[in-house]
Amino acid sequence: MPGTGRLTSDRHLLGIEPLTREEILRILGRARELRSQDGAVERSLAGRSVVTLFYEASTRTRASFELAAQKLGASIVSLASSSSSVSKGESVWDTGRTLAAMEPTVIVCRHKSAGAPHLLASAVESVSDTKVINAGDGAHEHPTQALLDALTLLDRLDTLEGRTIAIIGDIAHSRVARSNLFLLKKLGATVLLGGPRSLVPDQLTTMGGVIVRDVDTIIEVADAVMMLRVQFERLVGPPPFPSLSDYTRTYGLTVDRANRMKPAAFVMHPGPMNRGIEIDPEVADGPTSVVAHQVRNGIAARMAVLERATGMGPWAGRRAQ
């Protein structure tokens, strides 16, 4: 049954939730190795092919995946929904089977519907050995973002064990928040979630987050503060808060709030940023911001994930976990 049956391969990367702590550490370790090799990276994906299938607009994720695949020597086919059969009404199921029949090594998929990569992976498995990597599905998961964020955090904090990481903003609609929450918990961090009830529902505590409604409290105790934008495109019905400036007043990372962070604490943002709403421009571009570093780490994290999907690097001859 589509989207229902258990997948037979464990080399797809559909989310952080199913990964073990050891597997996450293996990916991060490999990403560091690849990053340090820089220009001298072994072209472990030479002769392999990577399809990027993006049903949703993306700048950084797509570019990052394609650069990562290029560095590993893979050939890349880049598909966007506006320029492919998707715009002719082809379903994810059919697209998956069609692409899989051409036997690419990996399909990297971004989709607006939660669970779509799972459906794609089921379709693909019915045809070939191609692996699927989730590049963001609706408000579900964005595993490579969480991996690059972890890489960035560990560059500064050495360990996440016992650390306090804050995620503030529209968590209900954020795949970045979900993947980060799963990952940070697996690596032993305390995760504080901040934002209005309409965007940070109480049920999120069951996933291990601690909800603190008062952002000023969070700011003062966090070792790192991850700001998320409000995903206006996913909102239906009346606006969930009174106004943008009212939101900024209560939940935004203003200069004033940033000044009250712990001395070594730093600011992260997965992008795209809505400057002046969830984060002041001065903070986004200021000395505590590691946004550019996050983007740089994205390539290494995605290289590691591509190797995992293809069974290369530390995954040669090993089962993924």
Partner: protein, 427 residues
Amino acid sequence: MSRLVLRHVRAFDPGAGLDLEDTTVVVEDDLLVDLAASRDTTGERVIEGQGRLLIPGLVDLRAHLGEPGFTRRESVATGVRAAAAGGFTTVLAMPTTQPTVDRPEVVELIQARARQAGPTRVLVAGALSVGRQGERLAEMGKLKAAGCVAFTDADRAVKDSQLLRYALETAGDLGLPVITHAEDESLSLGGVMHEGIMSNRLGVAGAPGAAEVVGVARDLALAELTGCRLHIGHVSTAAAVELIRQAKRRGIRVTAEVAPLHLLLTDEELSGYDPHAKVFPPLRPAPDVDAMIMALADGTVDCVASDHTPQTELEKKVELDQAAPGAIALETTLAVILGLVRDKRLTLHRAVAVLTRAPSQALGRKDLGRLRLGGPADVCLVDLERSWCFERAEVLSRSHNSPLLGRTFTGRAVLTVAQGQITHESL
């Protein structure tokens, strides 16, 4: 005159206080003429019951039969075949058709298809509003004259409270019930599944249980205001049940139904984004399921309705948020309810009543859903021990959308007789 003899059966109609072990029941033409005949009675067909349970033919209050307009999903003919296999002898067809049942011609078309399809009784629910648009009342007088037995906008809540008030009053004047889908659609807007722990984990837009609760509260207030008969369709939350319980205590004329899936599955079914587990109302967490079972057992919820909702593979083999909600259910409803009896959550007495007498009463039909000497020969022979698997290849409905495919059940209808004719047999 044709004569069918059912020998060695346990004739069981708990609502009538009837429980005759090892008896012989005789059907002549379309009537039950003897419930305790002599063992050597003969007829054109003599069926050996082996002591199995003979109950009234099951009555379903909520089936989407797809005709006219959606025959890729289901037709009246395929729908009644599925119904018969599930032990049903009466189904109430929802006006989820194209065009909808807001004019007598559509009623007549469905009735004509039903006559061609066989003796299973297909009752027709008329639309409550023109085009089920919720703007003005459908011509209920004409629809009743054509044969409609209830009025409903099916899966659409009536947004305008004044219109629902008028609908209750108009239907009440005609002596017929209104069936509502109780929901505040502004609260559930965009919801794909139940809003809760699962929806948050999966990143899927949720519809809170409160959307149903608000809808039920409003509908109950209007039933009280008008004093007219209200039947609330597919209730699924503990809090809504509590409101219904209070309303009944206060003497409001309300009946309610629950769908079998809301007695069996929780929103955990969606953990793998299975579109087959996407139904409407959505599957709820375990405490709601538990409350629904208890409410069915204690009579707060009067009856079970299949909510048989066929959808094609095209409508289901897509992303969860794009998938059409609903599941086929006529062939599995009895088995699900008998499962509750095996689990000791429901008495056999109650299990039979909620599928026969209770739904008939909700429609105000005293003739259906009972075993009565001289009454209609609508019966169902049940093997409580029969183990069977709900296999895709054996599905009789035209569609195959069900989260229960591949599941093994114990207990099923092995013979169904509608209007004196055998409509299903797997003795």
